[in-house]
């Protein structure tokens, strides 16, 4: 599934939001790939990702990094999220150098990602783009809410949880950072960018009123 595609946002607030992830191909290079996927995560760690995760184990807001790295399996899909362009370029170059043999994918602003690839010495092989949301779009919540929830492509971050976090921030029950990290927890794969969520929440709380029952 395209769990890192369809992230909503503006070119401005999608800047510095990168997900690098890896997996092996079933029946092709799968057997024994858990070690390669583990090495992938170790490379990610060297460049200080803002989130790290394996769909099978969880993300760094619910599991320690060591557990995520130690528990990789041949069928794992492993992820590192970055908020810094230079770190992304270095991470891509390190992955090329490591030559792990598993497939590596990067999500982000398309032109910027391709520039990063060029600078890191890797070449795009296959690309995927979103054609947007179709159908009964009137059923969707506000765009500002979706910019946060769509960072989890599996839809694990509920619209109502964002609303509750806004209410909790407004009433002093938690800080913006704590709210962003709470929103990162349900995204099992660890592709949710808590720093971007924090920035988006800062914008929202300036604009939204709050109803406290």
């Amino acid at each position: 599934m395209s769990h890192t595609l369809h992230r909503r946002g503006t070119p401005e607030n999608l800047k510095n939001d990168y997900v690098i992830f890896a997996m092996s191909a079933k029946g092709m290079n799968e057997i024994g790939s858990n070690e390669k996927l583990q090495q992938f995560l170790e490379i990610m760690q060297r460049f200080e990702p803002v989130n790290l995760g394996d769909m099978k184990t969880g993300n760094r807001f619910i599991k320690p990094d060591e557990t995520i790295v130690a528990n990789t399996r041949d069928t794992s899909i492993v992820h590192g999220v970055f908020d810094d362009r230079e770190k992304v370029i270095k991470a891509l170059a390190a992955l090329k150098e490591a030559d792990l043999g598993v497939s590596v994918i990067i999500s982000g602003l398309f032109d910027d990602v391709h520039d990063c690839c060029r600078e890191a010495g890797v070449e795009p092989h296959t690309c995927e783009k979103s054609l947007g949301i179709w159908g009964r779009t009137e059923r969707l919540p506000d765009e500002e809410i979706m910019q946060i929830t769509t960072m989890c492509g599996h839809g694990m971050v509920a619209f109502n949880l964002v609303r509750k976090m806004i209410e909790d921030i407004k009433t002093g029950r938690c800080t913006v950072k704590e709210a962003a990290e709470e929103l990162a927890k349900p995204c099992q794969c660890g592709v949710f960018n808590p720093g971007r969520a924090e920035a988006l929440l800062e914008e929202i709380i300036c604009l939204w009123g709050v109803h406290v029952a």
Partner: protein
């Protein structure tokens, strides 16, 4: 997901975590307020349970029987599909294209993810879209996709009638087509999505072709633009580090 009303203290902590907004509060028989999960709307994604916010462990998920079992297999990413052995609801699609060669030059991958973002979809809507695409003729739905496995007629897109009223967080109708069919499929999706009760996220995959210009390298995207679709600024790129690299006869990059 269900709530053990004998344990629930009605604190409401689980409510915000529900991806479908299906948790409400009702007066229990003993004069207390308790959480209740609307079983028709719940997609068994397990988020409320995994959030570990219930102070009395009142949430529980009974082992689902067919056809309700499709809800958790499509909605809970921790449940692995037997068809794909991938947790989640899709396939490897472009993620491993450097190794599998699933999408070749002259082809495009197209996927309609029904119910995304976070609105959910019932199979009668999924069937409607699949049938509209299949009606174009000579469409091969991705055989490894679990949605294809639920079709009783893969040439028409008709789904197993037993699942039609089941609701999932999302499900992906996926296919590989020759580039020239992109405009017709976009038009079919454009028309049929006027008749569904939910939303879908639509995407397009293209192998990087030989050439200098963006139009030559990613012809599928140019065809979608010409069909009147605005592609998003962000996207996903496989960087070709998988081994062994799939070699396409003579024209592989």
């Amino acid at each position: 997901m269900k709530v053990d009303q004998a344990k629930c203290v009605g604190c409401g902590r689980c409510r915000a975590y529900c991806t479908m907004g299906a948790i409400d509060f009702v007066a229990s028989g003993r004069g207390r307020v308790c959480a209740e999960v609307d079983q028709y709307e719940c997609v068994d994604c397990g988020v409320c349970f995994r959030a570990e916010v219930c102070p009395t462990d009142a949430l529980y998920e009974p082992a689902p029987e067919w056809p309700r079992s499709v809800r958790s297999t499509f909605s809970n990413p921790l449940v692995e599909h037997k068809e794909t052995r991938i947790p989640g609801r899709g396939t490897e699609e472009m993620k491993t294209n450097d190794v599998t060669g699933r999408f070749k030059c002259g082809e495009a991958g197209m996927a309609v993810e029904m119910g995304r973002p976070s609105t959910g979809a019932r199979f009668h809507d999924i069937e409607k879209v699949a049938m509209a695409i299949a009606a174009l003729g000579n469409i091969t739905f991705e055989p490894k996709n679990p949605i294809t496995g639920l079709m009783v007629d893969k040439t028409t897109g008709r789904m197993n009638p037993e699942v039609l009223d089941e609701k999932v967080l999302s499900a992906i109708i996926e296919m590989t087509v020759p580039l020239e069919r992109i405009p017709a499929i976009i038009e079919a999706v454009r028309q049929v999505t006027k008749e569904i009760s939910t939303v879908c996220s639509f995407d397009l995959t293209c192998k990087v072709h030989p050439g200098e210009s963006q139009e030559q390298r990613l012809p599928a995207f140019e065809l979608a633009r010409r069909a009147g679709v605005r592609l998003t600024d962000n996207g996903k790129t496989n960087i070709g580090l998988g081994r062994p690299l799939f070699v396409e006869g003579g024209i592989s990059k």
